[in-house]
Each structure stands twice: as C-alpha cells, then as structure tokens.
Symmetry: C2
Subunit: 242 residues, 2 copies
C-alpha cells in the first residue's frame, strides 16, 4: 500500500508521500515515491506514485527519457499547461499498460499505477490532478482542495476538518503530517520516511523539501503534541446525560 | 454500508450502530441494527448487525424463534456462557447461508452478514466478539478492547488514540460518538440515527440506551466542541522550521 496526498492552497501546493513498497509482509522495501521535474523560472512539477512499483517506475522512466530527447516532441518539458502535462503522463501510463498489460493478465494482475500530479508552469495557475490507473484524471478545486491515493481513509477526517484553499501552507503541513501519523498507526503497509514538499505560488522552483525519518525530532514532537492535545479536548467534551 | 462498534471496558461495554441500509444511492432506508436479548438478573446480550439486510434479519429471526421455543434446546436464553452464545449465533448464520447461499450465488452474491456480539451472563465475565460472515469469530481483549464492522477506517484513529480497558464509560461514549461523526462525514452510506447502548458491569439489565436523531442537541454540541477543539489544538501545534 501507499499513502500520498497533495493539497492545493491559495498560497501554494503541499505534496507528501510515504516510502514503503511491499509484495507481502515478508517482502517490503523503501522507495521514494516523489518525483520532481524542475526548470527554475519555467516550470515546477511534482508526481507522487502509488501502485505496483514496476508500473510507476516504468511511467517515470518513460517521462524522463522522452523529456531528455530534447527534440521538441511532447514531454513534461514542452507541455504548455499543467493539463497538457497530465495528458503527457496519461499517455505514458497507457503506453506501459499497452506493453505490460497482457503479460500481467497471465498472472491475474493489472497495471494499477496511479499518480498525484501538481505544480505550475510560468504564466499559468498552480494545478493539482489525480490520475487513475486507466489514465483518466480529476483535478482539485475550491470545493475539494486536496487529493489522496493509496490508503486514504485513516488520514481523511483530519484533512476534511482543517483544510480549505485559504489554509496557510504552515497549517496545511501540520495537517498533512497528522494525517500521515494517523495512517502510519493504522496500516503497516504505509511506512516512514515521509517525503514532504511545499511549493510556494509563482516561485517556479523548490525551496522547501524535506525527508522525515523514523525518529525525526519535529515529527515526534508534532505527533506527541497532537496526541496530547486531542486527549485534552476529549476531557473537555460535554458528557452525555442519560 | 454500515458502521458498528463495540468497546469492552473494565466498567462495562459500549455498543453503537448506525441505521442506514442501502442497495445503491437511489435505494436506501433506515433500520435499527441493534438487537437486545435481556432477562434482567440473568443475562444481557447485544448484537450489532452489518451486511446484507435479508441475511442479518434472517439470523436475528432464527435466534428469536429458537429462543421462543422454550423447550430447553440451544438458544441465546439457554447458553451457559457468552462463548456459547457466539456459537449459537454462528450456527444460525451457517443455517441461513446453507439455505440462501446457492440462490445468492446465482446472482453473484454471497451471504455477507457479520455481527458484533457482547454482553454478560450471570456469574460470567463481560465478553465482546466479532463474528465474520463465515461464522468464525474473534474476541476483544486487553490489547484490543474494541471491535468494529462495516466502514471501520474513518473512525478508527480516534478509538486507537483514546480507548483502553481502563477508559471510563463516559469517555468511551464521547469517543465512539466522535468516531461516528468522522465516519458519517466521510461515507454517505453510513447514516443517522445512531443507536447507543452503555451496559454497566454486573447490572444484567439495560439502564442506558439512547437513539440520536439527526438534530440531537447533545450530538450536535459534541461534534461542534470536537471540531472547534481540534482546530484549537492545530493552532497550537509547533510549526515546521525549514
């Protein structure tokens, strides 16, 4: 399993992903699921991967190779808008599915890669998408400013209660880290480290990216403060009178 | 979908269930999913139902009819221990599956009823079980004092953070109501009213049972206080320094 989340704010976009991959409890490993395509001043694009690792790596590999071709053919570097970037990723996904699908089907498997994709191209607004394994996609908006993939349920209530487009990046970061804490506690197939990236609107480059390892002092402090805080809120909640 | 939860505390057992049944978003209804078998001073047994309504009602119907027979044959009224009650329920589930299973299979359906079962028989400890559709079951214990069925994920983090066997019934009630609030917000197929029952250890009768309708003043107050409280905790959490 995996847990990835992207939040589209008025002031920027937050991306976070866990790092655990597994094919059974006796076969798990650590892989970074966050990929950045950055050309400072021109475009800043982030992809968060979930699903079968061979599938997601193949898609990323194709996107990089096509981008490196440098012959002006369609790629993440030549796309005019973030919508066109989403189409480019979708095409790569379908190419991988076309190549691998029939072979996976022989083992009753399917191509199941999916992605959160977001960022900004110079002169365009920030945008955030979720691409499904079929290559179709949805876009975050004012009513639903965040998108998740993987093990989404444990960490969703806290996002629902806190996040709006007007939320500050600092608060959204706290919220997404608490959302990860709830998910990590409940699903062993989601694991540290957490990769976190905060893109600031119109910066067109990354200034804030950080990896949180198991014993990261900030993450430990945050989770302790959160746990203690909600137990305090609990004590103050009104008791039911029968 | 459904959401049901049972919590085994040192001082008693808490039971809660939602009331929505649905076979598609255009076909939903309200049914109480909480069934009580009570003989004051002798035994107090609660069942929370989830799964296909025809299946759960059939099981409850059989348990009631067999109990009414009054000829001393095995029933919820003659079982010596809560473990034997669980066996009695399991047998009824398998009988329904035996009768209906082949017909359901013709429509690619399966018998999918499952139950949370708990209570106390005079002279015995309080016990809490979760019965799977196959009729096998697990029992709550010191390490995991609560059991859920249905849409379990949204409401689980808060139970994990608050509930231990030593939690007071008053706090556990607050917790389970917040757990329901989180679930109701995230899954439309879980719906009000909520049936809540608090069994007090060795009372062998019900004194605290209440139904919370949509606009119940206590539930509204609790949810508002909780939402406001966690937003306050949020504001006080340490900010990440980059």
């Amino acid at each position: 399993m995996t847990y990835c989340a992207g939040i589209l704010l008025n002031e920027g976009v937050i991306f976070a992903s866990d790092s655990r991959t597994h094919a059974g409890v006796d076969n798990f490993a650590k892989f970074c699921k966050m990929t950045v395509f950055e050309r400072a001043g021109d475009r800043f694009i982030v992809m968060l991967s979930s699903g079968n690792l061979a599938g997601t790596q193949a898609v990323i590999g194709i996107l990089k190779q096509r981008g490196d071709a440098g012959d002006g053919s369609p790629s993440v570097w030549t796309a005019r808008t973030m919508f066109d970037v989403a189409i480019t990723v979708s095409n790569a996904m379908r190419d991988v599915d076309h190549r691998d699908g029939a072979y996976l089907a022989e083992s009753d498997l399917t191509f199941n890669a999916s992605f959160i994709l977001g960022g900004q191209i110079n002169g365009e607004p920030m945008r955030l998408f979720r691409l499904y394994a079929e290559g179709n996609f949805i876009e975050a908006g004012l009513d639903t400013p965040y998108l998740q993939t993987g093990e989404t349920k444990y960490g969703k209530p806290i996002l629902d209660r806190v996040v709006t487009p007007a939320t500050s990046p600092a608060d959204a970061i706290k919220c997404v880290m608490v959302s990860f804490d709830s998910t990590l506690r409940s699903n062993l197939s989601v694991g540290m480290p957490i990769d976190l990236l905060c893109y600031k609107k119109d910066s067109l480059q990354v200034t804030m990216r950080r990896r949180f390892e198991e014993s990261d002092p900030y993450f430990v402090e945050l989770c302790d403060a959160w746990g203690e805080g909600i137990r305090t809120v609990f004590r103050q909640l009104p008791e039911l009178q029968w």
